[in-house]
């Protein structure tokens, strides 16, 4: 602020008021999360009687109880979730990168048509395809089979998440064409250009893809609910819904404890990559 403005105007309370308003909004927005943490260490009696955020009697036992509440432990469910999420990250990054390189940088017949089709699938609701996919995967013996995660993973390895293809294409368009042309003069093939020019320069887009891929898959419920049939194969979100069935009061604490644990990986990603996540949705309009 310039000194002339300082002299002219009386002390401005605007910024302070704005700050206080923002503080109140933050408190309201974060309340459910803080309440969740408090409730996860409350005893059954206190969950009903104590309306405060901090428990009078610290009850960490909820975590142990929730962990072993069902025939299969939550350790297994979290491991399943991690396996599905990490393999989906791998599949999405590789397959979407390959498709994006073709659509964004190479000249080949019908490219325009395929690009338009890819844009068309961007807005295609996943719920529309779930029934025929279920029938297809069941016919192939993938649902509840020896490899129960094939229905969740195979689509990721086939670049069906058009959002990421689009995101990487957009990013690749910013890489100067001259680099390709120089490589061509040096005798590089399209594969060589991919390996030595595009792949190293696309790393930021790949990191964004990987992070969003992980968070979306970790939080995903619909597909996991439909395709996982055996308790031992359940992922954390599907297992959490088992708590809803047991309506007894005593289950609330353990239910909150396990819910809290299930949010931690996403929270850690948020802390580590906050800047990148915010920039990621800026450049592509990706949903959180």
């Amino acid at each position: 602020m310039s000194s002339a403005a300082d002299r002219a105007a009386p002390p401005n309370r605007g910024p302070l008021v704005r700050f206080l308003v923002l503080l109140v909004i933050v408190a309201v927005v974060l309340y459910p999360l803080i309440w969740m943490i408090g409730t996860s260490v409350k005893s059954p009696q206190e969950i009903v009687s104590n309306i405060g955020l901090i428990p009078e009697k610290f009850t960490p036992g909820n975590f142990a109880e929730g962990w072993t509440k069902f025939d299969v432990s939550f350790g297994r469910f979290f491991l399943n979730s991690a396996l599905v999420s990490l393999l989906t990250v791998l599949g999405n990054t590789i397959s979407c990168l390959l498709a994006a390189y073709a659509l964004g940088r190479l000249r080949f017949r019908l490219r325009g048509v395929w690009f338009a089709v890819m844009i068309g699938t961007l807005l295609l609701p996943g719920h529309v395809l779930i029934i025929p996919q279920y029938i297809l995967f069941r016919t192939l013996g993938w649902v509840g089979g020896d490899w129960p995660y094939l229905p969740l993973l195979v689509p990721a390895f086939l670049a069906t998440e058009a959002f990421f293809v689009f995101l990487i294409v957009q990013f690749m368009r910013g890489i100067p064409r001259e680099l390709d042309e120089a490589a061509v003069i040096d005798g590089a093939s399209p594969y060589g250009i991919f390996r030595h020019v595009i792949l190293p320069l696309s790393r930021p887009a790949l990191v964004t893809t990987a992070i969003f891929s992980f968070i979306w898959t970790w939080n995903d419920f619909f597909r996991q609910l439909v395709f996982l049939s055996e308790l031992k194969d359940y992922t954390a979100p599907v297992a959490l819904t088992l708590f809803i069935d047991s309506t007894s009061e005593s289950a609330v604490g353990p239910m909150f404890a396990m819910s809290l644990l299930s949010l931690i990986p996403v929270f850690l990603f948020f802390v580590a990559f906050q800047r990148l996540l915010v920039e990621g949705i800026n450049t592509s309009g990706l949903k959180g």
Binding site: P32, L106, F108, L123, P125, I281, G288
Partner: protein, 321 residues
Amino acid sequence: MTASTLTRDPAAPAAHRPGRRVRRRRENLAGYVFLSPWLLGLLGITAVPMLISLYLSFTDYSPLISLSDASWVGFDNYRRMFTADQSYWHAVTVTITFALVAVPLKLAAALGVALLLNRTMRGISVFRGLFYLPSLLGGSVALAIVWVSMFNREGAFNSFLALFGIEGLPWVNDPDWALYTLILLAVWQFGAPMVIFLAGLKQVPVELYEAASVDGASAWRKFAHITLPMLSPVIFFNLVLETINGFQGFTSAFVLSNGTGGPVDSTLMYTLNLYIKGFVELDMGYASAMAWVFLLVIGAITVLLFSTGRFWVHYSDNEER
């Protein structure tokens, strides 16, 4: 220089021509090599299932029998949907209510907070991050569980009301209110559109506001005549995205009603209804018909939004900034 002079350059030595043709053929092949996983996915995971789904929508089919045994019933599924199935129309009403209330509220919250944050101020990135956090967590089962507990009879929300001597309702068990707790959960996740609004606000040229100040324009007039028009492309983008997402809400409704759409069908979102018909009642022919109508309606809404966009979305001519 035009494309044709580039490709048919008479000065180019003749010896280079075959090389160029070979290179183009190689690039053509490479294009399809790199595209092959995506093409396979398009065919096997998207296109063929869509066709199967279209076929199934004219049949009576349960997954307990093989696909070839599905019995053809013509337009019966569609007729049943539009004329006989009360719960179907109930689900349509619930979904439209959800989208019509949640999307404007969410966008208004996003824009309001973005305007508050759009000043140079210390700690701005901390605020931005904290507001964004619910967008990352809010779609999960875990958060839906917390939300439902918060609006129970003994939940935190009623405890809060009790401080003012108000006796709350069991909101999530009340058919008149259950959907609104889900709407609130959607609005709570205003951070993602807010971040996009913030980026849009940064693009508005400061000179416009300065010129308006010189002309003595009030804060409201600046908002209505500069901010809103300049922001309209971003508003439009968020509107399309949030509307399409709004129609597809599933997880929170599933958790609140334990997969039934209750109480009294009040949270029977379209996708939840589709899940129940297809995977609980195993009426997959009918559910496929529902899926196709859903697809067509979402497509129609997108087209509608884009066609109205012409009248109110203002694209600036120069995009240098």
